[in-house]
């Protein structure tokens, strides 16, 4: 069983989904699963920072995709690594009936904050599943 899980948010600057994914990843890392998460950084991975390469090679990866092109997963695959779970945030919010249109990439409204918490809890459950997988 893996000791930790790598969460890699795509962290787009110009979409609200990038913001929601980034904030959710902080909650999972710091509050819901402290000590069990390594937080991958897409720009650093692209720049081949060794720490970030180690994260995706040593631990199962969950990507939080803020763009329909799934940039984070594509980048992981460029390093010939598998992505355990890809979460498309826009689709996730549609499926869970959360309308985050009160939010922007700069600032979250109350629905955006709700979306962050929902996504964080959902991701934490996926982390649990990966941590107990043999």
């Amino acid at each position: 069983m893996p000791e930790k899980v790598c969460i890699l948010p795509s962290s787009e600057l110009t979409t609200v989904f990038g913001k929601i994914g980034r904030q959710a990843s902080y909650i999972v890392c710091e509050d819901l699963k402290p000590g069990k998460i390594v937080l991958g950084c897409m720009p650093a991975l692209f720049s081949e920072v060794q720490e970030d390469i180690d994260f995706i090679t040593q631990y199962p990866v969950i990507t939080l995709e803020g763009h329909p092109a799934h940039h984070a997963a594509k980048l992981v695959k460029k390093f010939s690594q598998d992505v355990a779970i890809e979460i498309d945030i826009e689709k996730f919010l549609k499926d869970t009936d959360i309308d985050a249109s009160d939010s922007s990439p700069e600032k979250l409204g109350s629905n955006g904050e709700k979306a962050v918490k929902f996504l964080a809890k959902y991701t934490a459950k996926k982390v649990d599943a990966l941590l107990t997988k043999k």
Binding site: L13, C41, E106
Partner: protein, 155 residues
């Protein structure tokens, strides 16, 4: 109308990334018609719009830490920025302690650094748009990277 593209560090691991993102949004809000924001993950992934904008407009990079991922991403795409601002040097120059700041939400000191970076970038944008080479390198003691030749040719 002339525009300047801004590509900030868009990392997630360090507080400085949050500070630079806030700064980028502030820069855009202060010069909404003259700036366009580029998301580094989009550029890294060869998103056509991000690539087009990074090539079309004079580009300012704001790097957050030693790997200088923003600068590295544009370099690998064959794009040369007109200006690179390195946030840790701004932080050191202004003597802003970041202890107690978190990457989730900025406090007073993080906001202070974001404002300092914003001020530098906005001054550079105004200079470039008035067909001047930014004077910030001479006026401030920290190092601001700049390619003057490229800047002049892009105006």
């Amino acid at each position: 109308m002339k525009k300047i593209a801004i590509m900030p560090c868009n990392g997630v691991g360090r507080v400085v990334s949050t500070i630079i993102r806030e700064s980028a949004y502030k820069i855009h809000s202060l010069r909404p018609d003259a700036t366009i924001l580029i998301s580094s993950p989009d550029l890294a992934a060869d998103n056509p719009d991000a690539l087009l904008n990074a090539k079309k407009y004079p580009l300012i990079i704001i790097d957050g830490c030693k790997p200088r991922c923003g600068s590295n991403i544009v370099k690998t795409k064959g794009i040369k920025p007109v200006l690179e601002i390195y946030a840790p040097l701004v932080c050191a120059d202004k003597k802003i302690p970041l202890s107690g700041e978190t990457r989730v939400k900025l406090g007073v000191k993080g906001t202070w650094l974001a404002e300092a970076i914003t001020e530098i970038a906005v001054q550079a944008i105004d200079d470039i748009l008035s067909n001047k080479i930014p004077t910030i390198q001479e006026n401030l003691p920290f190092k601001v990277y700049m390619d003057k030749e490229k800047m002049l040719s892009s105006l």
